[in-house]
């Protein structure tokens, strides 16, 4: 059991680190978001499961709820941020044709000064 817990924790942490590297390396905000929210979620979840396996002091309920809340909030937050990113006119890399053009108002200049 301990080995499983340790493995899950290492994997989770690794995913978190990868996600963080993605946030640094990926070229535009929308791409970084994929890395941050999804890989981050998975990493957190794995880490928490590992902790729960290791710890039998009654943290299970809280741990699972913790995972649930992460799963609930991060994607919704990501969607909102994604749209806001688009709308606020941030430059996006590699998007050739934009089907949203005409569907959503987009700032011509980025909001960032």
């Amino acid at each position: 059991m301990t080995i499983l817990a340790a493995g899950l924790m290492i994997a989770g942490t690794a995913f978190l680190l990868v996600a963080a590297i993605g946030v640094i390396r990926l070229p535009d905000p929308l791409q970084r978001m994929h890395s941050a929210t999804k890989a981050g979620t998975l990493g957190c979840a794995l880490l928490l499961i590992g902790v729960m396996i290791h710890d039998d002091s009654g943290a299970d309920r809280i741990g699972w709820m913790n995972i649930l809340f992460l799963l609930l909030t991060l994607p919704v937050g990501a969607q909102m941020l994604a749209r806001a990113t688009y709308v606020s006119g941030t430059r996006l890399e590699g998007i050739a044709d934009d089907p949203l053009d005409g569907e959503l108002d987009r700032a011509t200049e980025p909001v960032e000064p």
Binding site: G22, R25, Q31, H34, P75, A78, Q79, A82, G94
Partner: protein, 112 residues
């Protein structure tokens, strides 16, 4: 199959698909991020929605977004199209088809 049972089945299937997608796509992201010559081909694609209930549409968008590599950018005001940002794809049609078969179908079973 009775409606409740169908829903339960749909729920289980969705969870399974979702977990698999989460792990698989996270690994994809990891691969992309860690590759020395990091190359992505991001796209914004339009996914037509066959669902009608707002909750169902929201769930669809949620699943699309929860899967690494894709995020729902916008739901059209008439709720017929989903605009999805995809981190790395070469084939729009295949991606759309995957969304519809993986998620939309089972969400329809679950909620419609």
């Amino acid at each position: 199959m009775t409606a409740p049972l169908r829903r339960i089945r749909a729920g289980i299937v969705l969870t399974g698909i979702f977990l698999w997608d989460l792990v698989a796509a996270s690994c994809d992201v990891a691969r992309i991020v860690l590759s020395p010559r990091m190359r992505t081909s991001p796209r914004i694609v339009v996914v037509p929605i066959a669902l009608t209930r707002p909750a169902a549409i929201a769930l669809f968008a949620y699943f699309v977004s929860l899967t690494p590599g894709s995020t729902c950018l916008h739901v059209s005001r008439d709720r017929t199209r989903l605009f999805v940002h995809i981190l790395d794809t070469d084939d729009d049609a295949a991606t759309i088809a995957r969304f519809k078969s993986h998620f939309e179908r089972w969400i329809a079973e679950l909620l419609e």
